[in-house]
């Protein structure tokens, strides 16, 4: 019987670890990173760099979280971001109006994702397939209209546009970081404190029961895509402003996979219905810190993806609860 008490202790330790594993992983990584010789890891500037470099994908991951919680997936986000950014840049160049560019970006991003959602729900095609197709379509059309190259911002006509992302608040905080946290606050609020947010969880958990609770489940699933579309628009604005351009072949590559990785690392289950918006934040931090650590520790850059892969699998393993075994 001594066995049971040690087992109990071990169980409670295990359950603490599995409930808080993401935070523990982040802390462990920060700890390891600081051990590196002459590490600049803990400097504010380094931290801001990490956040700035991952803000764009991080914002997309926030939207991705809703879509995954609702029981779907979107593989077209990177290509869609390029398409939206291309539209935005050309509008800004043509009219010189930054405001118009932003409005069009948001409208276009939301509309495109809504269409995706409608095909998924009304057409009853799995989102994996629909968005795989959409990815090809966005990429191809972008290349067609940009003739395989990119669109560059006309800096004379709209000098303010590049400031959107390149301005440093108080000279220290890059604006993309601010946008990321505003978006995080908004999406966190929606997930926790709105009817829509609750319904998104319900649909992902048991669609049939949700429908039979008198909820228009198709509408909810489409709206989850629309929210992702909004996130993609914001990402498109940040990215095009920061780079001053958008490229049909080199921009947005593998963003969908990185965004999915962030959500999954953050404990948002691919089964739907499970996970928290804060997970998408932790997921971004973890991916960001890995990329950064590898540079700081002087590891061969070719190994970055191997580490990412390990972390993705390890994170999901850690978060698996006993009850799901």
């Amino acid at each position: 019987m001594e066995n049971t008490s040690t087992r109990k202790r071990f169980d409670s330790l295990k359950s603490f670890a599995s409930n808080n594993s993401i935070v523990l992983v982040v802390l462990a990584m920060i700890f390891i990173a600081t051990l590196a010789e002459g590490s600049q890891f803990l400097s504010l500037q380094n931290f801001m760099n990490i956040l700035r470099n991952h803000a764009v994908i991080g914002v997309i991951a926030l939207g991705m979280a809703f879509v995954i919680i609702s029981g779907n997936i979107d593989l077209s986000v990177g290509a869609q971001m390029v398409a939206v950014a291309a539209i935005t840049v050309s509008i800004v160049n043509k009219t010189g109006s930054v405001l118009l560019g932003i409005i069009i970006a948001i409208v276009a991003g939301c509309a495109l994702s809504t269409i995706t959602g409608l095909i998924v729900t009304k057409g009853r095609v799995p989102s994996f397939i629909v968005t795989l197709g959409m990815q090809y379509i966005y990429r191809s059309l972008s290349m067609y209209f940009m003739q395989g190259g990119g669109f560059y911002l006309d800096k004379e006509k709209a000098p303010f546009y590049t400031q959107i992302s390149n301005y440093m608040l108080f000279g220290k905080i890059p604006m993309p970081v601010i946008y990321y946290f505003i978006m995080f606050a908004l999406f966190w609020f929606i997930s926790r404190y709105t009817k829509l947010g609750r319904h998104i969880y319900a649909v992902g958990s048991n669609e049939k029961a949700t429908r039979l609770s008198g909820i228009n489940t198709n509408r909810i699933k489409v709206l989850a895509f629309t929210l992702l579309g909004f996130a993609i628009s914001i990402a498109a604005i940040i990215e095009s402003s920061r780079m001053g351009s958008i490229n049909s072949t080199s921009s947005g590559n593998a963003y969908e996979l990185n965004a999915i990785a962030m959500t999954v690392i953050g404990g948002i289950s691919m089964e739907g219905g499970k996970g928290k918006m804060s997970g998408a934040l932790y997921g971004m931090l973890i991916l960001g810190i890995i990329n950064n650590m590898i540079t700081l520790l002087g590891v061969n850059v070719y190994l970055i993806n191997a580490f990412k892969g390990l972390i993705i699998i390890a994170a999901v393993l850690l978060q698996r609860k006993d009850s799901e075994l």
Partner: protein, 503 residues
């Protein structure tokens, strides 16, 4: 003890400090069908899970076929000849019958290729032993539910199981299918010395089919004995029910007189595919209308159509206004609620808490400004937990942490909170223990007294008789007859539901 297949002595088990088994004993003789009875939460499943190696016991002893048994995993249990057939069927519909039988233990030819022929032969041998004729090459998905159950039993026999545990095997079966399954089990116990333990809430079945019983309550033994008494008669159903709940509940009168008001809902000529063929009826305020019939006779399809969950033709008129209901969300807006059958699949949202499951139908009531107010949600959930006596440790725990009866009460709460004026309930007490059953009946009576029109569909004649003011009996998608409260007898219902007529 001689001839004992199974002896469990003083089994103790606790979860997180809560003792669920307080020294329970169970003796099962070889070759008998033993019923393990008790309300949800009495400890039956835990006891069987210990035997099946699913959970470890804290203390106690187990003897299988006279030998002390060490069971630490499901594999141990299997190796000792115990087969556990769970409530949910573990079959793969997209594989053939023989492939299911040999899943994970496939037979190979010398060349390393699957030996389909031999697997089919072995499967057929087992079926022969059971006196059933199923083609081993048929797709599992094409079989009726009872045959799927039979295949599960066959699988147990294939593994040389000498003790078969069945956890509520009959909840999804029709009467004919139940008879079928039991006949097969009876044959096995008689001719092949197999022993069976049967967990059920359906006392009628237990008395018809089992040899002996053990009743548990709150993790303790209440009584064990033979179903057939010394004088040759069988034990009374009410008596067993009393043992299960510890108080006299079955004779408890459910129906109470109440006022019936104006016409609330008129359904004209409703047709749903080939399931429902032009049915018309009316429902009045404060009326409890029963719709019964055998499984597959269209009652559930009809109410799902009215709730907007199935496409249909026909007219629905609510309070004199023709309405078009194409989606459950429209039905909800019109004040119609629906408690669906098969709770796990259709009603509970497994990743949400008890509280979130209760408030989901009417979240707009729990808002402050645009934001949801957790405090208001909590108040609503607590209100219903008290009203319906839902036993939940913490309403912020997942709904799956509740017992079946409490889950059902939570599902009912979510609709009460939406304040419908028409409430449709399909099999409202499916998979619910006796105590909770009566509480749900009482709640239905209360609804009627509040002038809500209630439609209850159920295949259990007793339930219909207990509750309803008026009953439609369906047969092959049509209403075969209507019974008023004074005509309500099991016999009349049976006559109509099998296609006969009353004179």
């Amino acid at each position: 003890m001689e001839n004992c297949s199974l002896q469990m002595k003083d089994i103790v088990k606790s979860y997180n400090g809560v003792t669920v088994l307080k020294g329970v004993s169970l003796n099962v003789r070889q070759g008998e069908i033993h019923a393990l009875l008790g309300e949800n939460g009495a400890g039956k499943s835990t006891l069987m899970n210990i035997l099946g190696g699913v959970v470890p016991k804290d203390s106690g002893e187990i003897y299988l076929f006279g030998e002390p048994a060490r069971i630490n995993s499901p594999a141990d249990s299997q190796a000792l000849g115990v087969a556990f057939i769970h409530q949910e069927l573990n079959v793969v519909n997209d594989l053939r019958v023989y492939e299911n039988m040999f899943l994970g233990r496939e037979l190979y030819k010398k060349s390393g290729i699957l030996d389909a022929k031999r697997m089919c032969e072995e499967t057929e041998k087992v079926f022969k032993k059971m006196n059933v004729s199923i083609d081993p090459r048929q797709m599992m998905g094409e079989l009726e539910t009872s045959y799927k159950q039979v295949v599960e039993i066959a699988k147990a026999l294939l593994m040389d199981a000498k003790l078969i545990i069945m956890d509520e095997p009959t909840t999804s079966l029709t009467q004919k299918e139940i008879d079928n399954v039991f006949q097969i089990i009876r044959g096995l116990t008689k001719d092949h010395g197999v022993t069976a333990i049967f967990i059920s809430h359906k006392l009628g079945e237990v008395i018809d089919f089992c040899d002996s019983y053990t009743v548990l309550r709150n993790g303790e033994n209440v009584k064990s004995g033979s179903i057939t008494l010394e004088d040759g008669t069988k034990i009374d159903q009410t008596e067993i029910a009393k043992m299960m709940v510890g108080k006299d509940v079955l004779s408890h009168q459910v129906y109470e007189e109440h006022n019936i008001g104006d016409t609330l809902l008129e359904v004209k000529d409703i047709t749903v595919g080939h399931h429902v063929k032009g049915v018309s009826f009316t429902l009045r305020e404060g009326e409890i209308l029963g719709i019964t019939g055998l499984l597959g006779d269209g009652k559930d399809e009809m109410v799902r159509a009215i709730f907007g969950d199935l496409p249909h033709t026909g007219t629905v008129i609510k309070k004199g206004q023709p309405v078009s209901i194409k989606h459950p969300s429209q039905a909800k807006k019109l004040g119609i609620g629906y408690l669906p059958p098969n709770r796990k699949e259709n009603a509970i949202i497994k990743d949400l808490s008890v509280q979130d499951n209760i408030t989901i139908t009417a979240l707009e009531k729990c808002r402050r400004g645009v934001a949801l107010s957790r405090r208001k949600e909590r108040a609503v959930a607590q209100e219903y937990c008290e009203k319906l006596r839902i036993k939940a440790g913490n309403i912020l725990n997942k709904i799956t942490s509740l017992s079946g009866g409490n889950q059902q009460k939570a599902v009912l709460s979510k609709w009460l909170n939406a304040k419908p004026d028409i409430m449709i309930m399909s099999n409202p007490t499916q998979g619910v223990d006796v105590g909770a059953k009566n509480e749900i009946y009482a709640e239905i009576m209360k609804l009627a007294k509040q002038n809500i029109g209630v439609i209850v569909t159920s295949g259990e004649a007793q339930e219909i008789i207990k509750l309803c003011d008026r009953v439609l009996v369906m047969y092959h998608g049509e209403v075969r007859g209507e019974l008023s409260r004074d005509q309500l007898t099991e016999e009349n219902i049976m006559i109509l539901s099998t296609g006969g007529s009353l004179n």
